[in-house]
């Protein structure tokens, strides 16, 4: 099994590396998403980047039909994916007063308008619709070596930022009122985090699709949450889970000829179920026993 995987490296090396680096990057950011208890936000942001790609393709059909202009380029679609993801992240994670609509309602709205809008925009374009379905079902097959370098860079910067500011980012995520009282500019930090989440999710969506992006954002962090005793260790455990399960998923997918993204997400789901089971067993054994006289 492993020998066959190594044999396939020459052909699919860039796909494997891109997939693992995406998992590494998103799992680090995912810890903050989970700490904020905003799981659905990451689905909405990922879906919004699908709408960005659909908008880019629609604009290409409308404006650049029959020509080979920049508007029909892959780079333009990536920019649109990131742009819409960033906008969605900023809109959904914006601080609200108790008298305005809840963040969940806004997140739901963003998700639904993005999901239906992307299909509607390309409903009459067979090629466009096929691309949207590919993004929704997830495929890593289009990953190139440029993607490997890009995600390596983003992962490095994210790890550096977390290393430098993990305490502040954590407090912002779990207790924003306290962070503000300690002099943190939560508006500015919220914008920076929104842009970073949108950038990572948008680029990951363009390369890997919705399922893999959403799965890598939330599942490793949820596994880490179930097995860790402190939030700060989640920043180490989540990437470790993401990459190790990613490696296993890709090896199995290669051997049994299954799509690697779906295989990895299924394995992450199994890992989460196992983590939940272990946690419930641990709590049961830790529960104090009542000794009757």
């Amino acid at each position: 099994m492993i020998a066959e995987f190594i044999d396939s490296w020459g052909l699919f090396g860039q796909i494997y590396l891109s997939g693992w680096l995406i998992a590494l990057l998103l799992s680090m950011i995912g810890v903050l998403v989970i700490a904020k208890d905003q799981i659905f936000l990451s689905a909405a942001v990922s879906q919004a980047s699908t709408l960005g790609i659909a908008l880019g393709m629609w604009a290409g059909v409308l404006i650049g039909a029959g020509t080979d202009t920049w508007i029909r380029s892959d780079a333009f679609l990536s920019v649109m994916a990131v742009l819409l993801a960033v906008i969605a992240a900023l809109v959904t994670s914006r601080e609200r007063s108790p008298y305005t609509e809840s963040p969940e309602a806004v997140t739901g709205w963003v998700f639904l308008v993005s999901a239906s809008g992307s299909i509607l925009l390309l409903a009459h374009s067979p090629h466009g619709l096929a691309e949207i379905y590919r993004l929704l079902s997830s495929s890593l097959i289009g990953a190139a070596w440029e993607d490997v370098w890009l995600f390596a860079l983003l992962s490095g910067v994210t790890a550096l930022m977390l290393g430098l500011f993990h305490r502040r980012l954590l407090l912002l995520a779990i207790d924003p009122a306290m962070a503000r009282a300690m002099g943190t500019r939560i508006g500015t930090w919220g914008i920076v985090q929104g842009i970073w989440l949108g950038l990572a999710a948008g680029l990951a969506m363009r390369v890997s699709g919705l399922l893999y992006t959403f799965g890598c954002l939330v599942l490793p962090a949820l596994v880490a949450k179930s097995i860790c005793r402190e939030i700060r260790t989640m920043f180490m455990v989540a990437p470790l889970v993401a990459v190790s399960v990613g490696v296993l998923g890709f090896v199995l997918a290669n051997y049994y000829d299954f799509p690697p993204a779906q295989m990895t997400v299924v394995l992450l789901c199994l890992a989460l179920a196992l983590a939940w089971f272990v946690r419930s067993r641990r709590r049961r054994t830790q529960r104090p026993r009542i000794v009757r006289p």
């Binding site: 208890d37 305490r167 779990i174 306290m178 962070a179 009282a181 300690m182 949450k225 402190e230 939030i231």
Partner: protein, 252 residues
């Protein structure tokens, strides 16, 4: 040597949008004082706390902090309840060290601040304890420890004893009393507990209809003021009052 002024408000008007909550508030807080902010719900106690923490800009008037407190690194804040998601795993150590945001401290200094803060609230040795396994009273003391880890000169508290049983409340207030009397920590505490305020506070600010009456406990906590603000006749009120007759939370 006269005590230094840590906080001074002059003709302060506070509100949200066009609405005014507090009007022409003036008070002076000196080092080592223990202030209680008393009043009915919605009278602006938490609004004043927000202004002190720099979370709300005055509509008019001024609020001055001592030069050492201007960057708020030496201001500790204890909220009523932490907003933390209860499904997140965290220990006492992690929770308290989160209070060091914005303060550059080396690991050794962090460890010293942690043990020092926990010792001062009677929780030394519980660093590795799961935060969610603690009782409500212990969690509230951890919140105080989180603020103390910053080595504050001013401790601002927003109803720190809300939801605690009388024993936990008394324990927490006992620690605060020690911090104030022994260490000289200046405390600014929002509360509904008139009896505790009468016993512990050196100064009181009574909030009523957008205005406050601020001064020493003896001067402010008079029969007339309490009858006017709370609308009830209460027993003898002074720092040496018989607490059996004093109104407590929810009884006025």
């Amino acid at each position: 040597m006269p005590a230094r002024t840590l906080l001074e408000a002059r003709e302060l008007c506070l509100g949200y949008g066009s609405g005014l909550i507090l009007e022409a508030v003036s008070l002076t807080v000196k080092e080592g004082e223990f202030w209680f902010l008393l009043g009915q719900n919605g009278t602006g106690k938490s609004t004043l706390v927000k202004a002190i923490l720099g979370l709300l800009q005055p509509q008019s008037g001024v609020i001055r902090l001592h030069a050492d407190l201007k960057d708020r690194r030496q201001v500790g804040f204890v909220p009523q309840q932490p907003e933390i998601n209860p499904t997140l795993p965290t220990t006492v150590r992690e929770f308290v060290t989160l209070g060091l945001v914005g303060i550059h401290s080396r690991p050794r200094d962090t460890a010293q601040r942690l043990s020092g803060a926990l010792e001062r609230v009677g929780l030394l040795g519980m660093e590795r304890q799961d935060y969610w396994s603690l009782s409500a009273g212990q969690r509230q003391r951890v919140l105080v420890a989180r603020a103390l880890a910053r080595h504050p000169r001013l401790l601002v508290m927003d109803e720190p004893t809300a939801g605690l049983d009388p024993t936990a409340e008394s324990t927490l207030m006992g620690y605060l009393d020690t911090l104030n009397r022994v260490e000289g920590l200046t405390i600014f505490c929002v509360s509904h507990d008139l009896a505790t305020a009468a016993r512990r506070a050196s100064h009181i600010a009574l909030f009523d209809a957008g205005r406050i009456l601020a001064g020493s406990t003896k001067d402010v906590l008079t029969q007339d003021n309490l009858q006017r603000i709370y609308g009830v006749v209460v027993g003898p009120v002074s720092q040496e009052m018989d607490l059996q007759h004093a109104p407590t939370r929810g009884h006025y």
